[in-house]
Assembly symmetry: C2
Homo-oligomer: 126 residues x 2
């Protein structure tokens, strides 16, 4: 992940392209709301409004914005049911479910080390 240095020969041009794409994607997903949305979806299919309730604290705007981004990157699938009122459902795709594994590890980590962190903090803050 850490960035490599490329020369300027033609063959290295698309290595550099792939690398910058990787960094771009990493920036996309290394964000609080994106990760929480992915975690909230899990194995379920959820409507927009269900997601908004599930991911506490997320605003309407941030939710749509991140969902668009996740859809664009092929991590979630969006299905619109043409009813009134409209019903829009979101599901993780296969890549999305793979990413979710990583998010799970992060969540587990957070809970596992809560104690460590709390004591580390009070030591630091003094």
């Amino acid at each position: 992940m850490v960035t490599k240095q490329f020369g300027d020969s033609p063959e290295e041009a698309d290595l550099r392209r792939a690398d910058s794409l990787a960094r771009e994607i990493f920036s996309d997903i290394a964000n609080k709301w994106a990760l929480l949305i992915i975690e909230a979806l899990g194995e379920r299919t959820l409507r927009f409004s269900e997601l908004r309730d599930e991911v506490e604290g997320v605003s309407h705007k941030m939710l749509t914005q991140n969902l668009r981004m996740l859809e664009r990157n092929g991590m979630v699938e969006r299905t619109v049911h043409p009813t009134v009122p409209p019903r829009v459902e979101y599901t993780l795709t296969e890549p999305g479910r793979a990413l979710r594994k990583a998010v799970d590890v992060m969540c587990d980590w957070t809970h596992r080390y809560l104690g460590h962190i709390e004591t580390a903090r009070s030591r630091f803050d003094s």
Copy 2:
């Protein structure tokens, strides 16, 4: 990770506290620079200036800021060698190395699905 709902009995007070702490920590680490720094450190010990070269694109300010945060949360250890010029080294702690595993999974994911994502994007952008 997804937030739970608590009542307002006393016993539930520290459940709520733990939950909010977990969310706070999650917000801390779900950020581009923090994750890239952790990944850059890996199993190595690096000086400040080495880190700045290693984590491409990071500014002086963001680097110090994130390093403080990571130190405060007990994820990295900071050792100052009292020489002139000063020499400051950073290493992952045990919790930090555990977190790194999660970051590794994310990095692997990014590279593994680069192709998927690229095609998903061009489909979406049309």
